[in-house]
Amino acid sequence: MATSSVSKGCFVFKPNYKKRKISVPIEDYFDTKKNASEDSKLRFETYQLMWQQMKSETERLQEELNKNLFDSLIEFLQKSHCGLQKSSRDWGFQIKLREIPTAALVLGVNVTDHDSVFRSLTEVLQNTVTPHVVSLQAKDCPDMKHFLQKLISQLMNCCVDVKSNEEGSVHVTQKRTHYSMDLLFDWYKTVTQKAEPKLPSKKRTTCQWQSPPVVLVLKDMESFTTKVLQDFITVSSQHLHEFPLILIFGIATSPVIIHRLLPHAVSSLLCIELFQTLSCKEHLSSVLDKVLLTTQFPFKISEKVLQVLTNIFLYHDFSIQNFIKGLQLSLLEHFYSQPLSVLCCDLPEAKRRINFLSANQCENILRLPSFQRHVEKQTPEKQVALLTNERSLKEEAQSLLENLHAYHVNYFLALKCLHNFTSSLPKYPLGRQIRELYCACLERNIWHSKEYSSALQLLRMLAKDELMTMLQKCSSVFKSSSENQLDNTAKKIEEFLAQFQSLDDVKEEEDSSGSQAKGLQKTDLYHLQKSLLEMKELRRTNKKQTRFEVLREKVVDFIDCLVRDYLLPPETQPLHEVVYFSAANILREHLNAAPRIALHTALNNPYYYLKNEALKSEEGCIPNIAPDICIAYKLHLECSRLINLVDWSEAFATVVTAAEDIDAKAAPSEEMSEIIQYPFISSTLVQTHIKCNKKSNNEGFPILHVILITPFLYTGWFPPTLQ
């Protein structure tokens, strides 16, 4: 069946019913076309498992992070609702009665993540506060009619769910009715009256829950039409006593927007309280901490990949969801492209799997560059054994995997330790966030970098209590980790702490140095550094150090040792390819593509795609045998805003004839000139298609022109997030 027609644009293909049943399982697509032998099925299962774990971990994390916010929000809702219910003769209270309690939820610009927040919010509210929770989006309610329609139908629906469908028939009949505020109020009355006798048995008696409030969540407050909001707020504030409404505004920009959208007369009807979610950067670092900086998931990403992902996050959308999507893609790519990724699982499982590796896979191990390097370091006898004997190879691989695991355990402990020390240094030579430090450590030997040495220098000038808090943090890091690989390190830190403690007692006696230390703490960092330096010079000349300084020196040296021992870049580890995904370019290509650059390159430099030597040329000019469209494009670039089609076509013909001429001198020119013209026509058509140019509407104009609208401003890949 053809898929082109002049009368329709949609073509539905339905295979026979019998055929359809044989659906291909997804795993089959996982095979790289070579052969299915390389554990593709197992790899796919491992991928699925790990992705599920990661996903649930991130979801759990999100819930955890939202918990605080939700708790305070619920508290607000309960308080304000109780206030509404209390009947008082107080005048101030009468005023308050007209005000709709409103929670303004500032969520930040990462619009993509909002959905999940609202989903869990609705769930939480329905479980704790009231069954009547409605959430609306601006795109569903362009006017009041739709607004009410959505509101009422959602309210009734959720009510039906709660009341076990006994009112199903009522719901259906009301579907046809006219939606109005009156209907809403009547509905609320009947619901509360019906519910009343049942309620005392339930446990919602902290305040008067006979009339549970209706919570209306406006997901994207900014994009609602002001008129709808205004009307709804004014009307419902009039009826607040019979229809207890609570609003929740989702705000992406800043709370000022409420006052900008609503005039004073309306906004004075709201009793607004502000809530703020956790900033997305903190969210990101906790995700990193839980997913990447842990040995729980064996999968790791290389420095480049991490940088691409964080850059997309920081420069494009601040969206955690997209970050996780990037992680998912890299996980998938890793398992898809690396046959040895079958070993990327828990240590015991991986060891078991090594025993079942096929000869092919062993070959793959031998081919790994890191493993080859490892082999070269061995003694000749062992080299032979590794290269020839499968058994010994497998044993070696097992021990290497074990080492890799131990390396990671130590790595993350050392990294966190170092981060504790450097994150509060002035000017943050190694970055404030742990991900910056992690990137730097992944990239190369950190101790060779200038930033590292300057950080150490700064560390050598720290005051005692700062050092002590850092050490305490470090020891808590070591304590929190379940693995006891770096036991003696932890002990050493404890020792240091104890020594500092004892230093205090001694110091009391030496009054001069003690008072000096106190004086130092009052000054700011610049002065501190300066005076410390001076002191250091003084000491050096005196060749005498206080006990504190000796100890401090020791601590710094200890950290340095820690870093040099454990923060080796992963490339040094044999078999690191098994767990590290490093194809950053693939990730970027698929997540953050640049269609514009691709088009530009295709038009300007066809050699890039068509690897034909004849097309090779220096920058800026193209050979005359290039594809027609490239030539036409190149010619049109030489024109300003308008282009004369005749000139254009003739220039085109000149170029193409020159190219053809050489090949086919004998060809009859009449036909040839026609043949040359038509590719031109088609390439102009194409350019209209991809909108490099646009026809002028000026039909009466004697000259045929094409307006060039090659856009000159690059507005960025993403349109403004908020309308």
């Binding site: 073509f11 697509y29 300066k530 970027r588 650059i597 530009h600 795609y609 890949w717 309308q723």
Partner: protein, 576 residues
């Protein structure tokens, strides 16, 4: 020293301080701080930290966004990627401003390009000097583009088998050339030509060289970021150029028209036929490219099943590629192919075909949103249901609206609806804001195929292709032949009147009363009722159009251009 100071601080002293002392004091302080600063820099590090310190002043936990790093990372990644264009050097040009160009530049470039030597062709050596010799023969007064033509001319003479007609045409063309005035910049032209003649035949070589030099210079400027002054100058240049290019509302080009070329317009079909005769160049390379993409089919299926959707971009029609994907991978599953480039496509029709043909639902919906809700519910309820959507040109005129994109995005976000789409428009990614992007959950794949957009552009109108909507000559004669002689006479009257008035720009048509009068005089009708009956016939065949004028009188007009009408009259007379 420190200690002393501290002790002094403890004791309170009052003493007179002269102005000079104060001054000294202050100067001292400044020196001191300077010293401190230097120290700090020595201590810490150079560039990076200075940059950070600026941010630090703002105190909040704003991220330090290192632009350069970002660009660097993205750039380096591109280099080792096989596809996705060469962003490193392309960036500047891709997003540059449009600046002013001289009108004759295009033809100049054309001649340059025409003369660029081909690499692996030995004939070139033979051919080169001949062209060189030809150039100086062209007289100085001619404009550049004419030179090109002369060259053409020479060439066609050189080829002995040139038919006479072409030569005539070429000559005619050059005549028209000389009579057409370059309203734009004649003087500039002359200068240009004069310069060129000075530089003798090797102008193009020279200009190429100088251009290349320019390029090198500008590149080196770019690289020297240290010399900020240069950079500033350059940007101000850019601004000036931009305003120069956009300042005058009048843009001048040459006034030659297509009519003067005397080339017949073609309709789509014959265009396609002619194109099919042209042998495709680089077919081997293109095949290789396509093979590369085809190897990804399995991966696409996998990723579609894992919740991603796939979008293809790049130059060249991706329709064939998607068709191949469809025929190889999707034979056993339900799929819908949507031609976005089809001018009549709407989201409603897409949804209709899903509800009616895929889900076998008979019934109507109150609104598109209702329909969407229904579809979403159906897919959520029945997880065994799977649907592939193939959309060619998701960015087409009809589908690019905000609402359409929202609806398609919502469809594609369903876990058992798989979307694979292609985009062509330069700015297509701007269609999607963050919310939509997260709905779509795109994975981008580059598919530069260089294949012609035959199907996609077949609905597109061009000035060079005959539009199928207008009334061509053949149908005109066909319709008229079936009419009575009287009716034909009436129509001829109208044609003649229209041709008489073709130079009158304010001509809106022949008023009905006048027409009736004329017809009566020619004994073609006897009452206005018969005339009206005839006109109805014409109108049914879309031969005439009626329009109410400002005075309420009906005006009649034949919606065919005068060239066709003249041809028609000539033919009629021949037959008679």
């Amino acid at each position: 020293m420190n200690k002393l100071e501290l002790k002094e601080d403890k004791m309170l002293k009052v003493q007179f301080v002269g102005d000079d002392d104060v001054l000294n004091h202050i100067l001292d302080r400044e020196g001191g701080t300077k010293l401190k600063k230097e120290r700090v820099q020595l201590l810490v590090n150079t560039k990076k930290i200075i940059k950070k310190s600026e941010c630090e002043l703002e105190e909040d936990d704003q991220e330090v966004l290192k632009d350069e790093d970002y660009v660097e990372v993205l750039g380096t990644n591109v280099q080792d990627s096989l596809k996705n264009g060469s962003a490193t050097e392309g960036g500047n040009k891709v997003y540059s401003f449009q600046n002013r160009k001289k009108p004759e530049k295009m033809s100049k470039l054309a001649s340059e390009l025409a003369n660029t030597p081909r690499k692996n062709v030995s004939l070139d050596v033979k051919n080169g000097p001949e062209i060189m010799i030809n150039i100086p023969q062209s007289s100085k007064g001619h404009s550049d583009s004419e030179k090109v033509q002369l060259k053409n001319n020479d060439k066609s003479e050189y080829i002995s088998t040139t038919p006479h007609r072409l030569r005539k045409r070429l000559i005619v063309r050059s005549h028209s050339e000389s009579e057409s005035e370059y309203s734009a910049s004649n003087s500039e032209d002359d200068e240009e030509v004069a310069q060129e003649s000075e530089e003798d035949t090797k102008t193009f070589v020279g200009s190429q060289k100088s251009e290349a030099q320019n390029r090198i210079v500008s590149a080196s400027i770019c690289k020297e970021t240290a010399s900020k002054k240069m950079k500033r100058e350059k940007t101000s240049d850019l601004v000036e150029e931009y305003f120069e290019a956009h300042s005058s509302s009048k843009v001048l080009t040459s006034d030659r028209t297509l009519q003067k070329l005397k080339r017949d317009k073609l309709d789509q079909q014959s265009l396609r036929q002619l194109l099919s005769k042209v042998p495709p160049s680089f077919s081997a390379e293109l095949k290789q490219l396509n093979q590369q993409y085809e190897n990804l089919f399995h991966k696409w299926m996998l990723q579609l099943h894992l919740g991603f959707n796939i979008v293809l971009y790049g130059l060249g029609s991706k329709r064939d590629l998607l068709e191949r994907f469809r025929t190889t991978m999707l034979q056993d599953s339900i799929h819908v192919v949507i031609n976005g480039f089809f001018p009549g496509i709407t989201v409603k029709s897409v949804l209709n075909s899903i509800t009616e043909e895929v889900l076998d639902y008979v019934g109507t919906f109150r609104s598109v949103l209702d329909q969407l809700d229904w579809i979403i519910n159906r897919f959520k309820e029945d997880s065994s249901l799977e649907l592939f959507l193939l959309i060619h040109n998701l960015d087409s005129q009809m589908l690019r609206g905000d609402k359409s994109q929202q609806i398609i995005g919502q469809l594609s976000s369903l876990h058992n609806v798989y979307l694979i789409a292609s985009i062509d428009h330069l700015n297509a990614p701007l269609m999607w804001d963050h919310a939509k992007q997260s709905l779509y959950n795109w994975l981008w794949y580059e598919a530069t195929t260089y294949s012609p957009y035959t199907e996609e552009t077949s609905y597109e109108n061009s000035l060079l292709v005959k539009q199928s909507g207008s009334l061509p000559l053949s149908s005109l004669t066909h319709v008229l032949r079936s009419l009575t002689p009287n009716a034909r006479g009436i129509f001829r009257l109208l044609i003649k009147y229209q041709l008489d008035n073709q130079d009158n720009p304010s001509y809106i048509g022949l008023s009905f009363q006048d027409f009736y009068q004329q017809c009566r005089e020619a004994f073609l009708v006897n009452s206005d009722l018969t005339l009206r009956a005839q006109l109805t016939e014409f109108r049914d065949h879309k031969l005439i159009r009626t329009k109410k004028g400002t005075d309420g009188v009906e005006y009649l007009l034949i919606p065919v251009n005068s060239g066709t009408l003249t041809d028609f009259l000539e033919k009629e007379e021949e037959e008679v």
